[in-house]
Symmetry: C2
Subunit: 192 residues, 2 copies
């Protein structure tokens, strides 16, 4: 079974959880053994816009996942100061795919995953990320460094998830998933 | 106060609620008096991918909303046969903006809102929509007919919401909201 976790938290940016959630779930139309879980520190996390999102797993599930996807949002600023929280992650970028949307890059940096690497993030987090010693690529919507990818600007999630699926499966699977959400007449192709 | 409702139901396509939800909430960064509610027939509706989504209003709130946004999903097939459900809507396309994503167009048709009009929908709903007497524009991601707009292919929601904001406010507001979710380096501009 191939497993993905989406890391949620209080005060997450709605679309940065739900776009990845929907796209990754579409893999299940091709591989029934693919599993995606939203994980967090509580049974329910509240989004910036007020959605009460139930989690389906705990943080430690990230440590055995094939793909770990860090969402973004104002809530990341609490997480990066919380050593107890950070210690729960035992990620291995040699074996796992690890990626972040927008300010989720701050969590990657706090976990020491971006040491010596460059990354991208949302404009509001650029100075913070640079202050953590990361070389920020201000104008790139996605920065890939081996098994680690950071993306910025909510809709960049499409390319980020596409990259992840290509790495977990192949480009045909990635193309099929993405084609299923493209606007009709703009490459849209249904997989169900 | 300007009001929008997003119509949810059991078995909704996750992204077709949440993308509009996130985008419409961004209007509140510009106009604090804008309100967006997710409405339904129950306090909680379950998505195709298993999200338990709490509603914040009832169907009848659509009847006084400035914008009514119909989400999509397999669940629409139940709704269009449910006369009691359909009777709860008293929409006025002369005064309200009414729009749908993908198979949400089936609900617009069932409500009689597409009589004599053309529309677009997801490939899996094309025959059904045509069978309801609607001229389906197979290859268009958005079809605008006065105050009614139908869009198809999940990411077409970006253009659909942009159209709605332009109509509710102006193009500057619409541009600012959309720019805030574009990929960095591809027109992205932060409004918060």
């Amino acid at each position: 079974m191939t497993k993905a976790t989406i890391v949620a938290f209080d005060n997450f940016t709605d679309i940065d959880v739900f776009l990845a959630w929907d796209l990754l779930n579409r893999i299940r139309l091709i591989d029934k053994n693919f599993q995606v879980k939203i994980v967090g520190t509580k049974t329910v996390h509240r989004s910036v816009c007020g959605i009460e999102l139930s989690t389906s797993g705990i943080i430690e599930e990230c440590n055995k996942a094939d793909l770990v996807f860090f969402a973004s949002g104002p809530g990341t600023r609490m997480l990066i100061k919380d050593q107890e929280y950070l210690r729960r992650f035992q990620l291995n970028s040699g074996k796992q795919l690890i990626c972040s949307m927008c300010s989720g890059a701050l969590v990657l940096a706090a976990l020491g995953l971006l040491e010596g690497l460059s990354a991208t993030t949302y404009p509001t987090a650029v100075h913070e990320l640079a202050g953590m010693g990361v070389k920020v690529e201000h104008d790139k919507h996605m920065v890939i460094q081996g098994n680690i990818a950071t993306a910025a600007g909510c809709l960049a999630a499409v390319d980020l998830v596409k990259w992840a699926i290509e790495r977990l499966y192949d480009s045909a699977t990635a193309d099929a998933v993405i084609a299923s959400v493209l606007p009709v007449g703009q490459g849209q192709a249904c997989i169900y």
